[in-house]
Amino acid sequence: MDYENAEKILEVKHLKQYFNVGKPDEVRAVDDISFDIYKGETFGLVGESGSGKTTTGRAIIHLYEPTAGEILFNGKNVDTFTSKAEQREFRQDMQMIFQDPYASLNPRMKVKDIVAEGIDINHLAKDDADRSKKVEDLLETVGLNKDHSSRYPHEFSGGQRQRIGIARALAVDPKFVIADEPISALDVSIQAQVVNLMKKLQREQGLTYLFIAHDLSMVKYISDRIGVMHYGRMLEIADSDEIYAHPLHDYTKSLLSAVPVPDPEFERTREEIAYDASNEGDGKERTLVEIAPHHWVRAADDEIGMYTQRAHEASLIKK
């Protein structure tokens, strides 16, 4: 990751997203997280179910009103977009690819209407011919052909549907795409196709991705940087190679040690590292601290030394 020329496209500052606020069943789905995403990169967000990664994605695209904190997109707070025009522009710049390609496409709409919905709403097509042309181009971009445009979603396989979902997201020429588990419903051989497509589109159109997933090996492959979430908190952020090779936080270590590897020799000798979450409730004040260059770990004041020590051992800190 080249930090020198990196330009922030998204800044999440102390975001809190609580549900049922003030009630006995209050849920702190996202509890004070901060991170930045740079233009043109893929930021991977990993964590177990219930860690708040999906909520974070949804809060960023402003499907929720944040309980506290702010989200800056291109330097502007998304919460302050009050005029229709501003909101429309924001929605155009930021798009989402959903997890389930079966549930996220309207079964009663033809593919061309699904893909063109954003074009229609934002009046991006001059006339019908232009609209059809745009749809056909988009389908071609994602590896489908124009004959597919008058079909219905049920006529497609899971991988093809996910391509339709991607075409729909791209229809409005977004800058930033949130992909929430875009491949976990797909077969292994199809997953690779979709990931390759996403990478290709990123190269060609300079897209920025927030890639949310629990499949750690795929996240590593596609991401430039990775954030690890647990219990609604961000525990560690670093370059993807670094975080996989030298995780500093115990939870990240534990998570990585549980990933099954398609190598029987490795599996026979694998040792899982258990994570004891109890120390998170000890009441100490913890914040994200930059332990090594661009490597952030959530730590209390008296833990910084320990993490710095670990970073030295992994020679992440150059003297």
Binding site: G158, D187, Q193, S217, Y221, V261
Partner: protein, 366 residues
């Protein structure tokens, strides 16, 4: 390969599903054995016939299923010839299944103790108190904490991982000879998945069950399986020991599967992928069903179906590339690397057989 250790022998199984559009040929001539105490993994994409195979063994196919040929021999008897009543006696007693989704495979209105005890009461005619006592033991065995107090809880009061433990407890309560695990951890997080897989291995050692493990996750297969069968379009295309499949695969489909899964070391701009989609089994193509997606396809692949070629006593693959007259091809890089590792492992094996040379600990390569 009829030997005494085989506990289940599936031969020439063919299953069609009758639909309005015609017959879907879901299983096209599948044969395999399951040995006592082993874990056989069946891998393949959705629609390749993994689940239909095991559902046929359990006698749980949908009504439009038509078993056109084949035998499934268990303890000298053909399961396909059993009546529904007889199958009821076998299911949950001799052969049990762990289903994929722990959210839907438990009865939400029944206390979990009762659900775990039910197979004992049904199959062994056990009294409720005694069955519940055994259920409690089982709950402890599968690692449900505070079992005494939780035996009267309902499924919704448990987390996903705990629910899957309950499902495992139900499946194992009668110490079945065969356990079918159909994607048992796919719905779970990696850390929970690791716990459940360890639990299954532990329990297998304790009660020496044979496991048929269905999954599409090759990482899980590498850790769980003794032998692996790779299915594609209703057929087994390659089978062998776990090392043979992972380090010396011969079928281009197995190559594709192994390469398209990124490991934690995979880099580069493009992930090797298998182009296209699986064939329509309403009308399976002639020849090798994988030919259309296969970069290594030969002319004969589109004309004639490849038979199984023997690689070793335990390793067979159905691809024309193994025919003596076939041209030599170079598999994808990742596979070549795997084969290299295999060759080294074989050398080590030979070394180890000579006791005079001390066994060297090899460092894992970075």
């Amino acid at each position: 390969m009829d030997n005494e250790k085989d506990i289940l022998e599936v031969r020439n199984l063919q299953v069609n599903f009758k639909t309005y559009a015609g017959d879907v040929k879901a299983i096209r001539n599948v044969s395999f054995d399951l040995r006592k105490g082993e874990t056989l993994a069946i891998v393949g994409e959705s629609g390749s016939g993994k689940s239909v195979t095991t559902r046929t063994i359990m006698g749980l196919n949908a009504r439009n299923a038509d078993i056109t040929s084949g035998t499934i021999m268990y303890k000298g008897e053909d399961l396909l010839k059993k009546t529904e009543k007889e199958m009821e006696g076998i299911r949950g007693q001799d052969i049990a299944e762990i289903f994929q989704d722990p959210m839907t495979s438990l009865d939400p209105t029944m206390k979990i103790g009762r659900q775990i005890a039910e197979p004992l009461m049904v199959h062994k005619g056990m009294k409720k108190e005694k069955a519940l006592a055994q259920a409690l033991e089982m709950m402890k065995l599968v690692g449900i904490t505070d079992a005494e107090n939780r035996i009267n809880d309902y499924p919704h009061q448990f987390s996903g991982g705990m629910r899957q433990r309950i499902v495992i407890a139900i499946a194992l309560i009668n110490y079945p000879e065969i356990l079918i695990a159909d994607e048992p951890t796919t719905a779970l997080d990696v850390t929970i998945q690791a716990q459940i897989l360890n639990l299954m291995k532990e329990l297998q050692d304790k009660i020496s069950t044979s496991i048929i493990f269905i999954t599409h996750d090759l990482g899980v297969v590498a850790g769980m399986a003794d032998r692996v069968a790779v299915m594609y379009a209703g057929k087994i295309v390659e089978y062998g020991t776990v090392d043979e499949i992972f380090y010396n695969p011969k079928h281009p489909y197995t190559w594709g599967l192994l390469s398209s899964m990124p490991t934690l070391d995979t880099g580069g701009d493009e992930l090797p992928s298998i182009p296209g989609t699986p064939p329509d089994l309403l009308d399976p193509p002639t020849g090798d069903a994988f030919a259309a997606r296969n970069a290594y396809a030969l002319k004969i692949d589109t004309e004639q179906e490849p038979p199984f070629f023997k690689v070793s006593d335990t390793h067979y693959a159905a691809t024309w590339l193994l025919h003596p007259d076939a041209p030599k091809v170079t598999p994808p890089d990742q596979i070549v690397a795997r084969q290299k590792k295999y060759a080294e492992m074989q050398k080590d094996l030979v070394k180890q057989q000579r006791p005079s040379i001390p066994v060297e600990e090899e460092e894992e390569q970075q």
